[in-house]
Symmetry: D2
Subunit: 348 residues, 4 copies
Amino acid sequence: MHFASDNAGPVHPAVMQALTDANDGYAMGYGADAVMDSVRARIRKVFEAPEAAVYLVATGTAANALLLATMANPWDTVFCSDCAHIHEDECNAPEFYTGGARLTLVPAPDGRMSPDALARAIGDGRSRSVHSAQRGPVSVTQVTEKGTVHSLAHLQALATVARDHGLATHLDGARFANAMVALGCTPAEMTWKAGIDAVSFGGTKNGLMAVEAAVIFDPALAWQFELRRKRGGHLFSKHRYLSAQMLAYLTDDLWTDMARSANAGAARLLDGLRRVPAVEVLHDPTANMIFARWPRALHQRLRTAGAVYYVSGDPDHGDPDEPLTARLVCDWSMTEARVDRFLALLTA
Amino acid sequence: MHFASDNAGPVHPAVMQALTDANDGYAMGYGADAVMDSVRARIRKVFEAPEAAVYLVATGTAANALLLATMANPWDTVFCSDCAHIHEDECNAPEFYTGGARLTLVPAPDGRMSPDALARAIGDGRSRSVHSAQRGPVSVTQVTEKGTVHSLAHLQALATVARDHGLATHLDGARFANAMVALGCTPAEMTWKAGIDAVSFGGTKNGLMAVEAAVIFDPALAWQFELRRKRGGHLFSKHRYLSAQMLAYLTDDLWTDMARSANAGAARLLDGLRRVPAVEVLHDPTANMIFARWPRALHQRLRTAGAVYYVSGDPDHGDPDEPLTARLVCDWSMTEARVDRFLALLTA
Amino acid sequence: MHFASDNAGPVHPAVMQALTDANDGYAMGYGADAVMDSVRARIRKVFEAPEAAVYLVATGTAANALLLATMANPWDTVFCSDCAHIHEDECNAPEFYTGGARLTLVPAPDGRMSPDALARAIGDGRSRSVHSAQRGPVSVTQVTEKGTVHSLAHLQALATVARDHGLATHLDGARFANAMVALGCTPAEMTWKAGIDAVSFGGTKNGLMAVEAAVIFDPALAWQFELRRKRGGHLFSKHRYLSAQMLAYLTDDLWTDMARSANAGAARLLDGLRRVPAVEVLHDPTANMIFARWPRALHQRLRTAGAVYYVSGDPDHGDPDEPLTARLVCDWSMTEARVDRFLALLTA
Amino acid sequence: MHFASDNAGPVHPAVMQALTDANDGYAMGYGADAVMDSVRARIRKVFEAPEAAVYLVATGTAANALLLATMANPWDTVFCSDCAHIHEDECNAPEFYTGGARLTLVPAPDGRMSPDALARAIGDGRSRSVHSAQRGPVSVTQVTEKGTVHSLAHLQALATVARDHGLATHLDGARFANAMVALGCTPAEMTWKAGIDAVSFGGTKNGLMAVEAAVIFDPALAWQFELRRKRGGHLFSKHRYLSAQMLAYLTDDLWTDMARSANAGAARLLDGLRRVPAVEVLHDPTANMIFARWPRALHQRLRTAGAVYYVSGDPDHGDPDEPLTARLVCDWSMTEARVDRFLALLTA
């Protein structure tokens, strides 16, 4: 009963097979492998973006920080939600890679900045003289860190606010596939058609071992990104093993199948949680991550029974009736049986 | 007949098997996997260094740059050979990760700085006032970028020069195992017993998919390294797959067996090359990498016949008799048959 | 009627004289001038800190950023008020000099963080794992950017919160003298006796041409600061002219006399403002800077009559009755006559 | 008898007067002072460059590092002589301001890179793949750090090499006026007419208190430079005092008069030195700085008699007959009498 994170789950067998298949003889390194040509073509096709620059890295933090560094000047501020991964969980990687840009945090109670809140943060009446951090790109996370999903209209509204101020928009798509499946849209619709300029296209949380694609719709930024990737130590010598994972991911709809499986697990879990009076579901989870509150005593019982998930607050000390906030994530390998077992425990 | 690089070769089947074995159910991410505990214990044992800090990253550039950043201040200069990988092949990663430290290049015709040359560079009579870059760590590559191997006495002499000036010493061990096998020594002898303070302990070039260990003998630097790794985007969420590779590497002498195989291939190749009058072998190759010179026309013939290796100089234009410098590297999977086929071509 | 800023005012004649006196023959550069020895001794005496490290720079941003860089790691976050100069007016200098640290903004409606708000920001229940920015120093501005002054007890409470979390405290004292005179305390009481570890001791806003002292009570940080200053291009070759200004400043109570004069101007102005029904004074101005609100139409009239000060909001468009927020600052050269002339205009 | 440095000398009285004159009432800060408008116009006129971006900073290191950061990417290498000030005397400021670019040192025995040596360093046959530092701007010092002066043809040849490789050229003109007077040319001839793209136009060493102008012939870089200056803490609040110095400098030929005076002092000194058999003059000094060698014993005698200048090597220990290398610099205030007194001592 492991709901801690979708990056705690296993790699899909088809991906493992692709790695084994790729492990044949010699291949030129550093992205010059033949498989990467296929990956590039596939991603461009999937995104309906024949000119897009496409690069692979192994971590989401690398993808985010390298893209933001490519999009922002060192004297800029990046606009993002106050719970953004780039703010909460990357140990100043954006500041490091941009050479000292900062983040302006936009309130986003359910993980989604409103276009108004974003507009206020960008253009709040203060002039941007030489004394101030200059306006830099907007970064939006989809699926958000609270488990919600921006509608296409919402994404478009945010990107429009950015563009109206002359700013570019980055999408942190660590759970890109889960959002896309939830929305029932195409990759293009969720990105450049909505005004997104560059995407961290996540694979690791959705069944890969360690691959994220950086997709930049303006190919003029390609060489700069390449140099930043190398300089960051993120260019792999045995690159074919990144390529092989990503190619398998995009073959035979594996990526959407895995996302559907993860989302289905979460939907089943959500349905069950909503039936439990002691449980309060937070926000509006529509992908594969759920935040909910239940009493400390219940948490302790679940933990003892072997359930694994994150809670905020002190799990061990305090009023047994005080609710803690739990985060539960389903990955592609989640099964109905495991969800049901957890729900049974919860209501036992 | 692929001699381009040991990082163009395949992953050892035992490592692939270990990845498959690790792909079972859930595991906590970010280095909290149980396998990492075994890796840490194993590396400490192998290095006879029970207190050493041990971390895994996926690229050699990451290992080098993160270690140098941990050892150097931004106002320091790092002393290294004028052909060091950190100078030639990392696109300013050391400058980036250290926050602006620089490199002082020490002449090293065969890849090995002499202790005298190092001492001159460090303490060349100029005072290090506030105007100058301050003295930072020494970085030594073993196997060197010219295919030579420092003797233990040589390593010790370099580290002694460093220590006499109050400086620490870093070992870039991208081909650590190849050097160790060539010297017939222990890991401890080639590192801390010789005065080395931190090691980039390479695995990728020697049969792994993408793992290097950073080994720091002073555990006081551990937490700083962890933060730098995360901030650089080099902390893997599905860390168990790094751990699994490294554990397999250090199990049943796989790592030394692979290095022996690579070195044996190179020795056979070297022996053959030395019998060819048109070939001039450079330096003193004792591990798995050989530099040699032969005429452009010969190179063109070899290339046409399918031999793959790097040459410096223009392979296509110029006097057919002019010698080009070729680099040939054998990886663990090199076979006698392939070496012989190449040698046969050469003398055809 | 110039109330725009205390850095728009002239240099005190005694300081100009000191510059002229210093302009005699040769003097060793880069801080090795004899006058700097006197400055160091004087500042140590004034601060009752015989071991303090003392350095001069020419801008407040340099003093702040260099001190924060000396106190914070690149992976840290600096805690400061949400209107701090380091946040609002230094164009990412702190991020630049620290190598990528960030700022955590603590709400401070009147410019003063409460100890509780600071404690919440520092220790808000979230663990500081490797994924998060680590806790770095606290930075407090005195006089605040809203014109208020922390009491000694308040400063002490903030520094205690910091120290309880193992953090150091920096004081941005761009208007140090104005605050000290307002509180009627000693430099030591307003700094190390209250728990402050390092001070940007401003002189420029209080009658100097361009000198700020960085005073660090822990001399172990001295050499690092020196290197950072040089590396930032802030070590002056003709350093004696910085020294001469600072020595004159601290001679015959010039610095406190000037601060008293500025504060007296502001007090007279405040007294007058409070008598005008159309004016709403904000916060509790006790030094030399006042924020107040009055209608747009009144502002336009004052501006036309030659009054110079900053307003936030659009001075030219909007409801004539809508209040704008004005900032008025008095420097050492402010006269009663000028204040009275402005007040007369206001009530005309 | 002070020959240590031209930055050890006094400020010209006319400059002091200009400071006093500027010290009148209020003036807007941060470069918005009216005097700066005159400075900008004057410099544009002097350089025959009506579109040039012109900014003032207070130190040569700031001017150099800010300009190089504006011209180079973080992944670039800057080409400069192996004795360049940016290499020897700025404590990694270029690396810091560029965000991690490096320097490639070009051999220059007399301080002047030859166009061939520069071309070899830039285009030495190695491809600049993603693994290598990319080619960045060329930086040339005029007067060089060895006291020599590039002819206009030489400057042009260097800038042509740069331009042929698509690179820009920076001129470190800390002693700009001394070189220009020595060459008898115009500012335009020594800069953009020779292919120079940006200049650190020094004033401090030539009689100012602390002002250097950054002159950028491509105005498209202006705003970026402004932001970098502010972010580096080099934008002065009481900016009028920088402006006033520079305006005085460029008024009534003060700047060329001072340079002529300094050069005349050095010429007289050189003439005398060449008559002393024990003295060996190095290089070809044609401006205001001379390197020469004489025995340790002679140095000790001169030092005891009160002569001040830098020597390299240990002045106190070693063979009395062994020659030390002395550096002697004349500033604008050098008198014939002082030169003659020194020469008399030397031959006593």
